[in-house]
Amino acid sequence: MSTESKEILVGESSQAKPEKKTIVLMASDGDEFVVDVDDITNQSEMIRNLISDMGGTDGLQVPLLNVTAPVLAKLLELFNVSNKNDDDEEVTQKVKELMEAELNMMIDVLGAANYIEATSFFDLSCKVLADKFKGMSVEEVREFLNIECDFTEEELQQIHAENAWAFD
């Protein structure tokens, strides 16, 4: 979260607005999620631009055709963690836990974050996934991501020979 957007938040609340503005996000299966405008625009560039293009948030409904309800729920839950913490430590930890517990969900969340242009959350999640590969063996990477080894026996021998000269 950038300090700049925090200041805007503080500035608005000090003007004692009666109620928080909200918009509705619609998942691909039709489920509706009411979200705080500041919270979502703090994360999603796409929604920030959309609100600015529409000239306001009144009655705004945003259909997210590529995102299912469970994925959107998880994404919003993680945004919440991110918005509540000044540093990325807590949200990084949550993404890590999600990756270990439900890799497929984590991958879907990553795709959804990219779709709504939640750039810093997306970058953070990419880094969590990339860090996971550090120190993994080839077999462990294949098993972790459920990737089939499609090399021929001959190619595997060649790879083995190459890696014998590569770096441990």
Partner: protein
């Protein structure tokens, strides 16, 4: 062998029906995978055909660059007394700094003398050379650092050994040296990596006494030594393919024969080995060398070679002993420069032939 564009096309077509990571569009998977540090790339390369293809694609390099994830490694060709020529790689990150042998170089190169070694893009080129059994050769071998593989590249138009070479803007320039044919000293050959082809030109240099080429600010500075020992310099302009000698009054740059040189952010530095390991900086405006500081003679084992990564100069000497100087830090204090040094953990008697960097 496939080169340049063809290689990239082949890479991307390979296994295109399967996703890199199940459930993610490939363009997003690439964004994630490109963040994996370079020292793990050999693991990624071995996962599947598609992953292997990705790691040698232009797209991969584009995303590494765009995300500021590129890492520069140092490739050192050396001569070991009993084992012939060997190539080592150094990941300079202090957390995993160690010298490692790369795949054995092609056997014809292992006994050669007088080869030129140049880096261009993601590849290291071994050009020409000769041996006790063999006269000068026109052979070129190249090591693709992103595939960790040696291959054959197009032969030079002229067989050469002990010649000058430089790498500048996607091209290799070679000239001079000792060759088989009488025309050799008089040609100026240019290699284009994207087409893996050579073009031979008439030598634009007026004399055949060039002893060093320095790529500097988009041009080649040519350093010459005439038969009577007189040093002078010239400038070759790639755009117009013309050469001009530098006025003798401004010729002090020709002193760059006194030691190994390196260019840091467009500025030429030289390690003056014969006068107490002084680091000198070429001041283009004043046309003179300015002393930055001195290196402790306990740290270096001359003759040294220099490479630059960012604002640091790596001084690599015999037995792979290495001294790192941050040029900005070095300029702050007079006299002995602040530096760090390290040596390989194994015993070696290696003499350095060349040092190059490749960024991925």
């Amino acid at each position: 062998m496939a080169f340049g564009q063809n290689a990239t096309d082949n890479c991307l077509q390979e296994g295109s029906h399967v996703a890199l990571i199940n459930g993610l569009p490939d363009e997003i998977s690439i964004l994630c995978l490109a963040r994996v540090p370079r020292r793990y790339h050999h693991i990624l390369r071995s996962v599947s055909r598609k992953w292997r293809a990705l790691l040698c694609s232009e797209e991969w390099h584009y995303h590494r660059r765009k995300n500021n994830m590129e890492e520069t490694w140092i490739y050192v060709m050396c001569r070991a007394n009993l084992k012939g020529n060997l190539c080592y790689v150094l990941d300079p990150d202090p957390a995993n700094r160690s010298w490692k042998l790369i795949q054995p170089i092609p056997s014809p190169c292992s006994k050669k003398d007088g080869m030129s070694v140049e880096a261009l893009g993601k590849k290291l080129y071994l050009l020409g050379g000769c041996s006790w059994q063999e006269d000068a050769t026109d052979e070129v071998y190249c090591y693709d650092a992103s595939a960790n593989k040696w291959d054959v590249a197009s032969s030079m138009p002229t067989a050469r050994c002990f010649f000058v070479s430089a790498s500048l803007d996607d091209k290799l320039y070679i000239s001079s040296g000792l060759g088989l044919r009488s025309t050799a000293p008089n040609s100026w050959d240019i290699y284009q990596s994207d087409s893996d082809s050579w073009i031979s030109h008439k030598n634009p240099l007026h004399n055949h006494d060039v002893i060093k080429l320095i790529a500097l600010e988009g041009k080649l500075c040519t350093i010459h030594k005439s038969w009577d020992g007189f040093s002078y310099a010239g400038i070759y302009e790639p755009a117009s393919a013309t050469w001009q000698g530098i006025e003798s009054i401004d010729n002090e740059i020709a002193l760059s024969t006194y030691g190994p040189t390196v260019v840091v952010d467009g500025v030429l530095y030289m390690l003056h080995e014969s006068s107490g390991m002084r680091l000198l900086k070429w001041q283009e405006e004043r046309k003179e060398w300015v002393a930055i500081g001195r290196l402790s003679s306990h740290l270096t084992r001359p003759p040294c070679h220099l490479v630059a990564i960012g604002r640091s100069i790596y001084v690599i000497g015999q037995r792979l002993s290495t001294v790192v100087i941050d040029v900005d830090e070095a300029a702050k204090v007079e006299g002995l420069m602040v530096s760090s040094s390290f040596s390989p953990r194994f015993d070696c008697d290696h003499t350095i032939i060349s040092c190059n960097t490749i960024t991925i």
